[in-house]
C-alpha cells in the first residue's frame, strides 16, 4: 500500500514537472524567437497591406488607362482600407506597339510609326457612410502620333507628326462593402460591390478635328459599369478578384457629326477604353445623305481581373502580379436604308455589327508604404504577352502613382 502511494506520488510529481518544464520551455522558446531580428513594424502598418492592395487596384486602373485613356471598363478607384478619404495622383506612359486585326494576328508595325500617350489621372474616393463610398476619376491625356516619319524624332518630309492634350471621360463611382472585414478569418475575403458611370466628357472620334485624331480622349458614350472586388490577405500574401461588366448606351450620330469623323472609326470606336481603334474602320459612315442619322449601339463588355501580391516580411513593400482579360461586343451600327430617312420613323434600317474586341493585360505592381497614410506605386502592363487579343491596338505602359489617405 505504501509502495503504491509512493509510486502514485512520484507519477504525479513527474507528470507535473514535465508539464511545467514543457510550458516553461515553450515560453523560453517563444521569447527567444520573438527577440530575434525581424522587420521593424511601423506604427499603423497593420493596415498597410490593404492599402497596398488599393495601390494595386489603383495601378490596374492607371496602367490600363495608359494604353488608351479614360478607360471605362476597369474597376473604379476603391478604398479598401479603413480610411475616410483617399486621393491618388498618377501618370501613365503608354506606347501602342502592335495592332491586331480580327484574324488575331498581331502586326507589330514599322519603326517609322509611333503612337504614345501620357495620361495624368486624379482619383478621389470618400466615405458616404460606414460601408458606402463615392469616387471620382479625372483623366487628362496627351497623345502623340507619328506616321511615316523617323522613329523618335520630328516628322520627315513624307511623315505626319501630331500631338494633342485634352480632358478624358470623367467617371463617377459608388462602392459598397458587402463583406466587411470586422473580425479575423483565415478564408473569408473582404468584398465590395461597385457601380460606375462614365460620362463622355472627352472628345470622341466623330468630334475630332485632327488628321491623326490625337485629340480623341473619350469614347463618346455614357457607360455604366457594375462589378465586385474580392480581396483576401494572409500574413505576407494577398489575392484579389475583380469581375465587372459594363454597358455603353446607344448614341445617335447625325449626318453632320458623322461627316466630320469621315467614318474612320465609328465601327471600331468602342473598346471601353475611350479611344477605339484607329484604322479599324467599319461602319457605313461615308456618303450619308443630309438629314440622315446613324445609331451606334456599343453594347456590353466585361473583364475579369485576378492577381496576387507578396509583402516580404509583412513590411512596407508589396510586389504584385495580375491578369485582366477583357472583351467588348462589336458596335452595332444602324442606318436608314437607301433613300434616306431619320431614326425613329417607320423606314427600314440597315444594320451592321462590328468585330468584337479582346485583349488581356498582364501587369506587375510594386508599391511602397512611405508612412501609414502615404504610398507610391509603379505598375507595368503589357498587352502583348497573353491572349486572347482581337481587333485592337496592343500596348505596353508604365504607370507611377502617389496615394494619400485620411484616416477615419
Amino acid at each position: 500500500m505504501k509502495f503504491a502511494a509512493k509510486f502514485t506520488a512520484e507519477l504525479v510529481t513527474k507528470f507535473t514537472a514535465e508539464l511545467v518544464t514543457k510550458f516553461a520551455a515553450e515560453l523560453v522558446t517563444k521569447f527567444a524567437a520573438l527577440s530575434g531580428a525581424r522587420a521593424a513594424r511601423r506604427p499603423g502598418s497593420g493596415f498597410m497591406l490593404l492599402c497596398g492592395l488599393g495601390s494595386g487596384v489603383f495601378g490596374m486602373n492607371q496602367a490600363q488607362g495608359a494604353a488608351c485613356c479614360g478607360k471605362s471598363s476597369a474597376a473604379p478607384f476603391l478604398m479598401v482600407g479603413d480610411d475616410q478619404t483617399q486621393l491618388s495622383l498618377g501618370v501613365a506612359l503608354g506606347n501602342v506597339v502592335a495592332q491586331i486585326a480580327d484574324d488575331g494576328v498581331p502586326n507589330f508595325g514599322s519603326s517609322q510609326n509611333s503612337e504614345t500617350s501620357q495620361t495624368y489621372k486624379l482619383d478621389l474616393a470618400t466615405l458616404l457612410s460606414d460601408r458606402m463610398q463615392g469616387g471620382l476619376s479625372v483623366p487628362v491625356t496627351t497623345y502623340s502620333v507619328l506616321r511615316g516619319g523617323s522613329a523618335g524624332g520630328a516628322s520627315t518630309g513624307s511623315g505626319i507628326s501630331e500631338s494633342s492634350t485634352g480632358l478624358g471621360d470623367l467617371r463617377l463611382s459608388l462602392g459598397y462593402e458587402v463583406l466587411p472585414a470586422w473580425s479575423y478569418s483565415s478564408w473569408k475575403p473582404q468584398g465590395f460591390l461597385f457601380s460606375a458611370l462614365t460620362l463622355p466628357t472627352g472628345r470622341s472620334y466623330d468630334g475630332s478635328s485632327r488628321t491623326l485624331a490625337t485629340d480623341v480622349t473619350g469614347a463618346g458614350y455614357f457607360s455604366w459599369t457594375v462589378g465586385a472586388l474580392l480581396l483576401k490577405k494572409w500574413t505576407v500574401w494577398d489575392a484579389f478578384l475583380v469581375p465587372e461588366i459594363h454597358y455603353a448606351l446607344p448614341r445617335t450620330l447625325w449626318e453632320r457629326e458623322a461627316a466630320i469623323g469621315g467614318g474612320v472609326a465609328i465601327g471600331g470606336d468602342k473598346r471601353g477604353d475611350g479611344r477605339g481603334d484607329r484604322g479599324a474602320a467599319t461602319g457605313p459612315a461615308r456618303g450619308l445623305e443630309t438629314g440622315t442619322a446613324l445609331r451606334l449601339s456599343p453594347g456590353f463588355g466585361g473583364s475579369l481581373g485576378v492577381g496576387f501580391g507578396f509583402s516580404p516580411r509583412s513590411g512596407q513593400l508589396r510586389l504584385g502580379f495580375r491578369l485582366q482579360p477583357r472583351v467588348e461586343q462589336g458596335v452595332q451600327v444602324s442606318a436608314p436604308a437607301a433613300g434616306g430617312g431619320t431614326l425613329g420613323s417607320a423606314r427600314d434600317y440597315v444594320t451592321s455589327t462590328g468585330v468584337s474586341v479582346a485583349t488581356c493585360d498582364t501587369g506587375i505592381d510594386v508599391s511602397y508604404m512611405m508612412s501609414s497614410v502615404d504610398s507610391v506605386s509603379v505598375s507595368y502592363v503589357d498587352q502583348t504577352l497573353l491572349g486572347p487579343a482581337l481587333n485592337s491596338g496592343l500596348s505596353r505602359s508604365l504607370g507611377i502613382g502617389f496615394q494619400h489617405r485620411w484616416e477615419r
Binding site: 503504491a4 509510486f7 508539464l19 497593420g46
Partner: protein, 223 residues
C-alpha cells in the same frame, strides 16, 4: 503540492482548449492508467487531478484567458464567470498608434465599469512584437488591468480578433455580447461614436448592446 497541482491543472486546461482531441485522449489515457493504479489503492491523488481538470473544463466557458501578465508579471488566469455582468477583452499592441491612443479611454472605462460588475483584460497577440519588449512597454503604459501575453495568438484565434484595439464583451457564460472597435476613430480623441462605452452602459441597464458587431479600426494583428 497543492499549488503545483493547480499550475498543472491550469496548464492542462489551457492546452486542452487549444487542442481538445489530443488532450482529451491524454486525460482519458491518464484516467485509465490511474484507475489501474487505483485498483492497487494508490491513484487517489491523480484521480483528483483528472477529476478537477474535467470539472473545470465543463464549468469554464470559452475562451480560456490565461497567460503571462505583461503589466505586473506572473501568470494570470481570468475566469469569465467571476464577473457579474461581463468581461471586456481588448487586444492591444505595443507599436500600433491606434492602440496606444485608446489606452487612456480604456483605463477610464475600466475605472467606471469595473465597480458595476465588469472585469477588463488586455491581450497582446502580435507575433512580430517581442514579448520582452511588450512587457516593458505595458509595464510603463499605466494600464490598470492585466495584459495577457497570447502565445501563438491562441486567444486571438479563438475570439477572431482582427486588429488592435479590438474589443470583445463576454457575458459570464462566455457568449460574445459585443465586438468591434472602442469607437469610430483611429484616434480616440477624434471619435464621434463610442461603441464600447455605449455597449457597457446598455448592459448595465440590463439591455443588449445596440449593435453586436461594429467595424474595428487599427493595426492588423500579426499572427
Amino acid at each position: 503540492m497543492r499549488n503545483t497541482l493547480n499550475v498543472c491543472t491550469d496548464s492542462i486546461l489551457t492546452k486542452f482548449r487549444a487542442n481538445h482531441q489530443l488532450w482529451f485522449g491524454v486525460a482519458l489515457a491518464l484516467s485509465l492508467g490511474v484507475s489501474s493504479v487505483g485498483v492497487c489503492g494508490g491513484g487517489l491523488q491523480v484521480q483528483q487531478v483528472v477529476q478537477q481538470v474535467v470539472e473545470q473544463v465543463k464549468a469554464e466557458p470559452f475562451p480560456q484567458l490565461s497567460g503571462l501578465d505583461l503589466v505586473r508579471g506572473g501568470l494570470v488566469r481570468v475566469k469569465v464567470r467571476q464577473a457579474r455582468l461581463g468581461t471586456v477583452v481588448v487586444f492591444l499592441s505595443m507599436r500600433c498608434p491606434c492602440s496606444a491612443s485608446h489606452q487612456s479611454i480604456l483605463n477610464q472605462l475600466s475605472q467606471r465599469f469595473t465597480p458595476l460588475g465588469f472585469q477588463f483584460i488586455g491581450v497582446h497577440s502580435n507575433a512580430d512584437e517581442e514579448a520582452v519588449a511588450a512587457g516593458e512597454y505595458f509595464r510603463k503604459s499605466g494600464l490598470i488591468f492585466p495584459v495577457i501575453q497570447d502565445n501563438k495568438s491562441k486567444i486571438a484565434d479563438t475570439l477572431g480578433a482582427f486588429k488592435t484595439p479590438h474589443v470583445f464583451v463576454l457575458n459570464p457564460e462566455g457568449e460574445v455580447l459585443f465586438q468591434g472597435g472602442v469607437d469610430n476613430s483611429h484616434v480616440a480623441l477624434a471619435a464621434q461614436r463610442h461603441y464600447l462605452r455605449d455597449a457597457l452602459a446598455l448592459i448595465v441597464e440590463g439591455k443588449k448592446p445596440a449593435q453586436k458587431e461594429v467595424r474595428v479600426l487599427g493595426c492588423e494583428i500579426r499572427r
